[in-house]
C-alpha cells in the first residue's frame, strides 16, 4: 500500500465518523489554543521589545558616574567609590576605535526654578531630563510635532506642545514657532534671575509644559545655579551616551567601561534579560498547554480503541486480502495522527483569531489611555503555526501507537469471526 493510499484511507476513515473524531480532537484543540496564545504573546512581546531597542540602538551604551549622589537611587546598588564621567573621559572615548558617537548629558533637577518668557507670556516650565532607556517601553519613540528634536551644541531649545499651547499658540501656528527666539529665565528662591536667549528648533509631543535646552546652555545654567565656574569639572557629566560601530563592539566597550568603574547600561543587557524572562514565562505556559495535549492523547487513544473494536472484522478482511501488520498499524496510526492534526489546525485558527481580537482590544485600550501602543502583542509566526500543528499531529500519532499495535497483531481468523 503506498503512503498516498494510506493517507487517503486514513483521512476518509476519520471523516466517516465526524462527530466522534471532532470530540476526540477537542482536547487537542484546547491544548493547542493555550500554546498558540501563550507562545504568540511571548513572541509578540519579544518582537515589540526588540524593535523598541533596535530603534533606540542596540549599539548604544549609557555610561553613568558610579556611586550615589544627592539622594538619587542607584539601581545597581551602592558603590563606595565615586567615579565621575569627566571631560577627559569623554574625549578619550571619542578617540577609541569602534566608537562612532559620544554624547554627554547634563540633567537639571526639577527643583530648579525655570521660566519661559515668550510670546508675551511668562510661564513656569520644567527642564525635561534625558529619557533613560526603557522609559518608553511599548510606546512610540518621541517624534517632533514640528521642527526637529536634534539640538545643536549651543543656543537651541525644544519646547513641548504643552508649553507652546500655554503661551497661546494654536496647533496650526506651530510651524511658525520654529526659529523664534525665546528667553529662558532661571530664578533662585532668593529672587536672583539669569536669562538665556535660545532659538526654538522643534516642538515635542509632550503635553506638560517642559523644555529641553542645548547641552552647553544646560551646563551654563547649572554653573550659574550652583555658583560654580565649571560644574562638569567638579561633578562630571550625569550620563554619556556612547554609540559603537556595532553591537559586539558595544558589548566589549560596556565590559571595558565597567572595569574602569563606571556604571554602564546597555540595551543588550535589557534585551537579554527581557528575553530570558519571556522564555521562562513562555516555557511555563507552553507546559500547561502541553499537559492539556497529553490529556488529549487519552481521548484519542480511547477513540482509536473503540474504532478498532468496531472494525475488527474489517481488519480481518484486510489481512485476508494481504494487508501486512505494518500496513494495518500505519493505517490506524495515521488516523490518530489526523485526529491530532485536525485538532491542531482548529486550535491554531481559534488561537490566532483570539490573538487578533486581543490585539485590537489592547490597541483600543491604549488609545483611550493616551498611551498609543502600536504593533501586535499576539504574534503567530509561521514557525509557531507549523510547529503547533506538527506537535498536535505527533501527539495524535503517539496516542494511536498502542491501539494500532493491537490492531496489527490481531489474528486474521479471529478477526474475521468477530461479529
Amino acid at each position: 500500500m503506498t503512503i498516498n493510499d494510506q493517507i487517503r484511507t486514513a483521512f476518509s476513515n476519520v471523516g466517516r465518523r465526524k462527530l466522534r473524531s471532532a470530540l476526540a480532537s477537542l482536547g487537542v484543540v484546547v491544548g493547542t489554543v493555550t500554546i498558540v496564545l501563550m507562545v504568540s504573546l511571548a513572541s509578540g512581546v519579544r518582537r515589540q521589545i526588540n524593535r523598541q531597542f533596535e530603534s533606540i540602538g542596540l549599539d548604544r551604551l549609557t555610561v553613568y558616574s558610579n556611586g550615589s549622589r544627592r539622594g538619587e537611587a542607584n539601581p545597581f546598588g551602592f558603590s563606595p567609590k565615586r567615579r565621575n564621567v569627566t571631560i577627559q573621559d569623554v574625549s578619550r572615548w571619542k578617540s577609541l576605535p569602534g566608537v562612532t558617537k559620544v554624547i554627554p548629558e547634563i540633567n537639571m533637577s526639577a527643583s530648579v526654578g525655570l521660566e519661559l518668557n515668550w510670546n508675551g507670556t511668562n510661564q513656569p516650565v520644567r527642564m525635561s531630563g534625558d529619557s533613560r532607556p526603557g522609559a518608553f517601553f511599548f510606546q512610540e519613540l518621541p517624534k517632533p510635532v514640528a521642527g526637529s528634536l536634534d539640538l545643536p551644541e549651543q543656543g537651541g531649545i525644544i519646547l513641548s506642545q504643552g508649553a507652546v499651547r500655554a503661551a497661546g499658540v494654536s496647533s496650526n501656528e506651530f510651524a511658525r514657532v520654529i526659529g523664534q527666539k525665546v528667553e529662558a529665565i532661571l530664578r533662585t528662591p532668593r529672587g536672583e534671575t539669569q536669562s538665556f536667549h535660545l532659538q526654538v528648533v522643534g516642538i515635542s509631543q509632550e503635553r506638560t509644559p517642559t523644555v529641553q535646552a542645548s547641552l552647553n546652555d544646560r551646563i551654563a545654567m547649572k554653573n550659574w545655579w550652583f555658583n560654580s565656574t565649571n560644574i562638569v569639572e567638579r561633578d562630571g557629566y550625569d550620563s554619556v551616551i556612547v554609540r559603537a560601530a556595532d553591537v559586539s563592539r558595544a558589548n566589549d566597550l560596556s565590559m571595558q567601561l565597567r572595569k574602569e568603574g563606571f556604571q554602564v547600561q546597555s540595551m543588550e543587557l535589557f534585551v537579554t534579560a527581557a528575553n530570558r524572562i519571556l522564555t521562562v514565562i513562555t516555557t511555563m505556559f507552553t507546559m500547561i498547554g502541553g499537559i492539556a495535549l497529553l490529556v488529549a492523547t487519552i481521548g484519542i487513544a480511547n477513540t482509536m480503541v473503540m474504532a478498532i473494536y468496531e472494525r475488527t472484522r474489517e481488519i480481518g478482511i484486510l489481512k485476508a486480502m494481504g494487508a501486512s501488520r505494518g500496513e494495518v498499524r500505519q493505517m490506524f496510526m495515521l488516523e490518530a495522527g489526523f485526529i491530532g492534526m485536525i485538532g491542531g489546525v482548529f486550535g491554531l485558527l481559534i488561537g490566532w483569531v483570539l490573538g487578533i481580537g486581543l490585539n485590537q482590544m489592547i490597541e483600543i485600550l491604549s488609545r483611550l489611555r493616551e498611551q498609543p501602543m502600536h504593533g501586535k502583542f499576539f504574534l503567530v509566526t509561521p514557525w509557531l503555526a507549523l510547529g503547533v500543528i506538527a506537535f498536535a499531529t505527533f501527539i495524535g500519532l503517539m496516542a494511536g501507537l498502542l491501539p494500532a499495535q493491537r490492531a496489527a497483531s490481531l489474528d486474521p481468523l479471529q478477526a474475521l469471526r468477530h461479529e
Binding site: S12, I317, G322, R325, P412, L416
Partner: protein, 236 residues
C-alpha cells in the same frame, strides 16, 4: 496430467481450548492439481474450513507441510504469507465480507490498493471485473444497497482483482437462495473452465460438490475419501 498446485503432507492442526487440545485436522495428505475445481465436503467440525485457511495462509499447521505454488507455507515467514495472500490467493466468504463503507468499485479496488497498482489502472481493472460479473451498473453502490447475490458477485470480482492462481471459497452459496446460489456457482465454475484458475471450495451441499472435478470428503479432521468426477469437456 496437471502438476499439483497444492500439496499437503501429514498436516495436523490442533487448537487448545482451555486445557484440552482439540484436533481440527490430523494427518492430511492431499494433492490438488492446477486448474481444477476441488470441493471440500463434510459435516460441520470436520476441519474443511481449517484446511482452506491453511491453504490460504491465514493459519499455520501444527505439524506437517503445505506447499502452494512452490512456496512452503509451513516454513514461510510473516511477510511471505502476506505476499501469498495478496498475490496468489483470492478469498470468497459465506458472509461476503465486503468493506461496508466502500462502494462496490472501491471494494474490488482494495486488493489492488494493497498491491500498489496505480490508481488509473485499478479503476479500469476493477470496472472490467465488475462488468464481467454482471455488475457494470452497480459500481457506486454500497454493500447495503446490494442483494446477497450481488454482494457475492462483488466479492468474486474482488477475489479476482489481483489475478490470483487460486480461489478459496468458504460456503460461497451458503447465504443465498437456491436460484442465486446456482448462478454464483455457474460463475465460479465458468471461471475455472475459462481462465484455468484453481478453485477450492468448502461446502456441505453435495449437489454443489457434484459440480467439482474432485470431491474431498472430510470427517473428524481426516480425509475419508477422494472422488474424481469425469472432467467436463470444455465447450467453445
Amino acid at each position: 496430467m496437471h502438476d499439483p498446485l497444492i500439496q499437503l503432507w501429514g498436516v495436523a492442526r490442533h487448537y487448545t481450548v482451555g486445557k484440552t487440545a482439540v484436533a481440527a485436522l490430523a494427518g492430511i495428505d492431499l494433492g490438488i492439481p492446477r486448474g481444477e475445481f476441488t470441493a471440500l465436503v463434510g459435516p460441520s467440525g470436520s476441519g474443511k474450513s481449517t484446511l482452506l485457511n491453511l491453504i490460504g495462509g491465514l493459519d499455520r499447521p501444527s505439524s506437517g507441510g503445505i506447499r502452494v505454488d512452490g512456496l512452503d507455507l509451513d516454513k514461510a515467514g510473516e511477510q511471505q504469507l502476506v505476499k501469498h495472500r495478496r498475490e496468489r490467493v483470492g478469498f470468497i466468504f459465506q458472509s461476503f465480507n465486503l468493506l461496508p463503507t466502500l462502494t462496490a468499485l472501491e471494494n474490488v479496488e482494495s486488493p489492488l490498493v494493497l498491491g500498489e497498482v496505480p490508481r488509473s489502472e485499478r479503476r479500469t481493472r476493477a470496472t472490467a471485473l465488475l462488468e464481467s460479473v454482471g455488475l457494470g451498473q452497480r459500481l457506486s453502490h454500497h454493500p447495503n444497497e446490494l442483494s446477497g447475490g450481488e454482494k457475492q458477485r462483488v466479492a468474486i470480482a474482488r477475489a479476482l482483482a489481483n489475478k490470483p492462481v487460486l480461489l478459496l471459497a468458504d460456503e460461497p452459496t451458503g447465504n443465498l437462495d437456491t436460484k442465486t446460489g446456482a448462478t454464483i456457482l455457474d460463475l465460479l465454475c465458468g471461471l475455472v473452465r475459462k481462465s484455468g484458475l484453481t478453485l477450492v471450495m468448502v461446502t456441505h451441499d453435495l449437489e454443489v460438490a457434484s459440480r467439482a472435478d474432485r470431491i474431498v470428503h472430510l470427517r473428524d479432521g481426516s480425509i475419508q475419501q477422494v472422488e474424481t468426477n469425469p472432467p467436463v469437456e470444455a465447450t467453445v
